[in-house]
Every structure is written in structure tokens, then in C-alpha cells.
């Protein structure tokens, strides 16, 4: 326990340097703005930010990217509350009661409670992260190559299986990602695989380009569908952005219930802020003495998902930092950036780079305080950014996507890869193939194959190594449950609907 406090104190020393305070504020405010703008989520924000991280160094880069992530959770609800258009997926549930509050003339209370709930949710989740991260990282030191391979199989299977009734499509996306990960020269034998003789593919397809292609370019292409819709009118003049005693009385129990739920869901691979927010909303509705008020402007219906999505963004950092396994699209991009900066996330990150790991955790406490200050008194100024027309915004994102690609590879050949993955993003959207499994598989595919081959090498090609330890068996059971559970649940609900009819 003492070690944790010593480490955290050192983390605060790192995070409180003027430069890192600047990156915390910069990341958080940028995240708030990106999260606010409809269609742009934290993954896109971190993806277009990548080239800037070159100049920041590992600590600055991680602090900024984490800031973008939780900042987007703060900002995501602004458009939900004022325009009934979620800034990102995690803010969908904030539309349900946030927008009716605006229609009822209570936009100020809605904006205030969303910032307060985000702050409390984020802070409690940060405390949980402090105490959980190190034990998880230490436990994962017991993992051998077989366990690591199975852990990645579990993370990928869980992510693919989260695709609701499109589980098969989720798995197709996952396998496509694994295929992409095998392109290039094999690290152990030097044999070129699936390069079609193209010299530029020898080094493999850079997964950061895939991420920018699918998240940034793909999103812009998709936005062309709606970009010509006339802008809806939005409230721009506000009174004091604060809540009443009665609002607080109704909100705090909801915040305290939603935070642990959001944190836990965030830490599960594949289940991100959207699921955390929706589950906490439903949970709150079930708990409420006035469920009939939900959907009509119940303040606890806004407080719960806001606390949950912030807590989930903190929870999602646990598998990424302690195991080196990204649990969501945004943490996948962050993991990619860490690798690019020469760091190896996973159990040894806390041992070998404590300044990065604890500096980032400490910065999240500071960032939350900065963001609640930014999001309360300055909310009325920030929301004016929602008036930027998409017709101007999306071409700028295109420009950022290309410059980001060039900054990563210094080659225009990858512009073509970027365009191809942008188009793949559109096809995937048309075919309803979720993008997260592909991205996650593209990133962990290389490590997964390496662990797979190491395990076989150790065991002299005996596949029993994959069932040879209790950890391996637990991971296999978890993988099976993560796939079978949604299928069984789907079949059960279909049966119930039929019986009801």
C-alpha cells in the first residue's frame, strides 16, 4: 500500500511540472471540444493528435492522450443536451433526459450536472485505478506466452462478441484485422508474407495508418451524408450554470451508483463508454421512484450516464496499461502511440517507466479538476464551437489525417493506404461490420502471433501448453462465456418476444 502512495506522489511530481500541466489542460480542453462536435469521438481525436505527440516525449504524449480521452467524455454530452445529437457514442444516453431538460428551460442545470457528474465519476474511478493498476500489473507477470496469447484471444473475442446481434460480423472484422497484422516480413524467419512483392509492404501495414484511415477518413466520408442538412438552432444565451439543492439531492445517489458500474464495464475488453452509459441509465430508471419522469427531463437520468462514461474511460486504461491489451478503440490508438514512442505497455511499464505510468495517473486527477473548471464557468463559451459548420470542419479533419500520416511515415505511399482504409471504413459501415474488432486485432495481432509461436516453441509444438495452467483455463472459460453469453441472451430475448406475441 505504501508503495502505491510513494509512486503516486512521484507521479504528481511529474504531472505538476509546468509543461505537463500545460499538456493536461491542452489534452483535456481539446478532448472536450472534439467530444462536443458531433461525429468526432475520442478515438478520432487521439488519432489526429498523433503527429503532435512526437514532440512531446512519452510522458507528455500519454498525459495529453489521456486528457483527450476523458475530456471527450466531459464534452460529449454538450451536443446531446443542446442539440439532441450525441457528440460521441458514449453521450447517446445523455440525450434521453439532457435534451428534454433543455426543452423544459433547464439547459443550465443540465450542463452543470453533466460536468459535476463527469467530475465525480472521473475522480472516484481515478482512485480505483490507483489501487487496482499495480496489483493487476504484478499478477500479469505470472503470464507466460501461452497465457498472453489466450488473454489476447479473450480480449478480441469479447470485443467481437459485443457487437450485439452482429456477432458474426464482429468476428469477420476481427479476422480481417488479424490478416492485416500478418502482412510484412516475418520477424523470426525474415520471410515476406502477403506483400505481393511490394517493397513498401515489407515493414507491414502501419496500424496507425489503419486507425487514421478508418476513424478519421471513414468518419469524414460518412459525414458527407449529413453535412448538407441545415444546422439546427441552438440555445446560445445562458443564465448561471449551476444546480439547485433539489437537483443535487436527486443526482448524487445516481452518480455513486453509476460510477462503479461504469468503471467495471470500461475495464472489460470491448465494452466501452456507450455500454456503460446505457446500462447505468437503465439501471437508474429501474432504481428510481419516478421512472415515469425518465425521458422527460429527469436530472438523475443525465447524471448517471455522465458519471458512468467518465468512469469507464478510466477503467478502460487498466487493461491497456497493465496488460498491454487495449480494451477500446481509443485505448488501441493510445497503445499504438506508446509503441511508436518506444514504450512497451504491460506489466513492466510500472516497473521500468514509472514516470510515464504514474505521471499519467496523477495527471488525470489534475485534469479532472481543470475540466470541471473549464466546463462549468466556460460552458457557455465552449458550446459556441458547436456552431462551426461541418462543411468547414470535415475538410480540416481530412487535412489533419493526411498530415498525421506523413508525420508517422514521411512517405506519400501511405496516403494510398490511408485512402484505401477510408473506403474500407465506408464498406464496413454499409455492411454493418464494427470497426473496433478490426482495429484491436490489427494492433495486437503481431504480439498475439509472437506469443503463440513462443508458446509452441517452449512446448516443442505441443498444443497442450494452451490448457496447461489454471490461468490459461480461466481465460479459455472467459473466452467461451464472452462468446456464448450474448448468443444465449439474444436467443432468450427472441424467445421471450415470440412468447409475448
Amino acid at each position: 500500500m505504501e508503495t502505491i502512495f510513494v509512486n503516486l506522489a512521484q507521479g504528481f511530481q511529474v504531472a505538476l511540472t509546468p509543461m505537463n500541466l500545460f499538456w493536461t489542460t491542452f489534452g483535456g480542453v481539446l478532448g472536450t471540444i472534439i467530444g462536443m462536435l458531433p461525429g468526432l469521438g475520442p478515438a478520432t481525436g487521439v488519432a489526429v493528435l498523433l503527429p503532435l505527440t512526437f514532440a512531446m516525449g512519452p510522458v507528455g504524449a500519454m498525459i495529453t492522450m489521456a486528457g483527450v480521452y476523458y475530456g471527450a467524455m466531459f464534452g460529449g454530452s454538450r451536443a446531446s443536451i443542446l442539440l439532441n445529437t450525441p457528440g460521441d457514442g458514449a453521450a447517446i444516453a445523455s440525450c434521453f433526459d439532457g435534451y428534454p431538460m433543455t426543452l423544459n428551460g433547464r439547459a443550465e442545470s443540465a450542463l452543470a450536472i453533466s460536468a459535476i457528474a463527469s467530475f465525480i465519476g472521473g475522480m472516484i474511478a481515478n482512485v480505483a485505478l490507483v489501487f487496482i493498476a499495480l496489483p493487476v500489473a504484478r499478477f500479469s507477470l505470472h503470464f507466460g506466452p501461452a497465457e498472453y496469447c489466450l488473454l489476447m484471444v479473450f480480449a478480441l473475442a469479447a470485443t467481437a462478441a459485443m457487437s450485439k446481434d452482429k456477432i458474426l460480423l464482429g468476428f469477420i472484422g476481427m479476422f480481417l484485422g488479424l490478416m492485416i497484422a500478418t502482412v510484412g516480413q516475418d520477424g523470426l524467419t525474415g520471410i515476406s508474407r502477403f506483400t505481393f512483392g511490394v517493397l513498401e509492404l515489407q515493414g507491414g501495414i502501419d496500424f496507425l495508418i489503419i486507425i487514421i484511415g478508418i476513424y478519421a477518413l471513414g468518419e469524414v466520408f460518412k459525414s458527407f451524408k449529413t453535412v448538407h442538412d441545415p444546422n439546427r438552432k441552438m440555445q446560445t444565451k445562458f443564465g448561471k450554470i449551476w444546480i439547485t439543492k433539489e437537483d443535487w439531492k436527486r443526482s448524487w445517489p445516481a452518480i455513486l451508483r453509476a460510477t462503479p458500474l461504469g468503471f467495471f464495464i470500461g475495464a472489460l475488453p470491448g465494452a466501452g463508454g456507450t455500454m456503460a452509459a446505457l446500462m447505468s441509465y437503465n439501471n437508474e430508471k429501474n432504481f428510481s421512484k419516478h421512472p415515469e419522469e425518465f425521458g422527460k427531463g429527469a436530472i438523475e437520468g443525465l447524471a448517471a450516464p455522465e458519471a458512468a462514461n467518465n468512469a469507464s474511460s478510466v477503467g478502460a486504461l487498466i487493461p491497456m496499461m497493465t496488460l498491454g491489451i487495449p480494451g477500446s478503440g481509443t485505448t488501441a490508438v493510445m497503445l499504438g502511440a506508446l509503441l511508436m514512442l518506444g514504450l512497451q505497455p504491460g506489466p513492466l511499464l510500472f516497473e521500468q517507466q514509472p514516470d510515464v505510468a504514474w505521471g499519467m495517473i496523477a495527471s488525470m486527477f489534475i485534469g479532472n479538476i481543470i475540466l470541471v473548471v473549464v466546463n462549468l464557468p466556460l460552458a457557455s463559451v465552449l458550446v459556441r464551437l458547436l456552431a462551426i459548420p461541418g462543411k468547414i470542419l470535415y475538410p480540416i479533419i481530412l487535412g489533419l489525417a493526411f498530415i498525421g500520416t506523413y508525420a508517422i511515415t514521411s512517405s506519400t505511399i501511405d496516403f494510398f493506404t490511408l485512402i484505401i482504409f477510408g473506403l474500407i471504413g465506408i464498406f464496413m459501415e454499409k455492411a454493418k461490420i464494427p470497426s473496433s474488432p478490426l482495429i484491436l486485432a490489427g494492433i495486437v495481432g503481431g504480439t498475439m502471433e509472437q506469443s503463440f509461436r513462443q508458446a509452441l516453441m517452449i512446448s516443442n509444438n505441443d498444443p497442450k501448453i494452451f490448457v496447461g495452467s489454471p490461468i490459461a483455463l480461466v481465460l479459455i472459460v472467459l473466452t467461451l462465456v464472452s462468446v456464448v453469453w450474448p448468443l444465449a441472451k439474444g436467443a432468450f430475448s427472441r424467445k421471450t418476444v415470440k412468447a409475448g406475441a
Binding site: I392, L398, L418, K432
Partner: protein
Amino acid sequence: MTMNLITGIAAISIGGIYTLMAFMLPRSTFGDPSRHLVFPIIIGIGMVALGIAQTLLELGRISTGKAEEKVALPKTLSRYGKEIVITVIASIVYALIFEHAGYVISTILYLGCILFLINGKKGAVANVIVAVAFSVSVYALFAYALGIQLPSMPFLDI
């Protein structure tokens, strides 16, 4: 043909070709000659299996009338389709001229083209201001603040 059926057939084709290519990879001259094939073969076969499952399920849905709408190629491109095609062409041209024309000029042309396409001629002034301001400020940020070298303008070393 429905989109789900297209996806199923595409998965079978991609998985099949990938598996064949995996089998045809050269063998290693040291250590286990074929260990580098095992993982790709598992993935390839997995993809084919998923494709078959997707196709069979969709055929079942089609036969019971529960399938989604069929996808037909449109005779003319919609505005959305045209904008994507033009953006892709502009992006390809951008990739081709990027290093020759330099970052600033190529980006002004590219962004200008996309802005005129999306924002229209009515917003001409805003389009020009955004294209120029974005290109110049990003170049300044990268070249001077971040120390990342971008292609400079021809004849002018900036």
C-alpha cells in the same frame, strides 16, 4: 443480393485466397520450416468458416423472407456518392503532387477543392481563408515548433 450475403461471400473469398497464399509461402531454412505458416493458416480457415456461416445464415433469412433489402448498384451516383468519388480522386492527386509541389501549395489546392465541393461556391471567401490558414499554420507548427520536416515549396526553401 443482400449486403450480408455479399459480406459472407467476400469473407469466404478473402479467407480462401489468404489460406492458399499462406500454404504457398516459402519454408524457413532454419528452425521449424513451417512455424510461420501456422498462425496465418488458422486465421484463413477461421475466416472461411465465418464466411460460410454468414452466407448460410443469410440464405436461410432470404428463404424465410426475413432478409434485409437487396443491394443494387445505382444507375447514377447520388450527391453523397459523387462527393466521395471526387474526394478520393482529389486525395490521390494530392498524394501524387504532395512532394513535388510542397506541403503548403498542395494542401491549399487539396483543401480548397474539398471545401468548394462540400461548402459550395457561396462560401468561396471562407473556403479560401480556411485552406490558406490551415496549410500555412500547420506547416509553421510542424516545421518550426515540432521540428518535423514537411516538403517545402519548389524554388523557395520554405
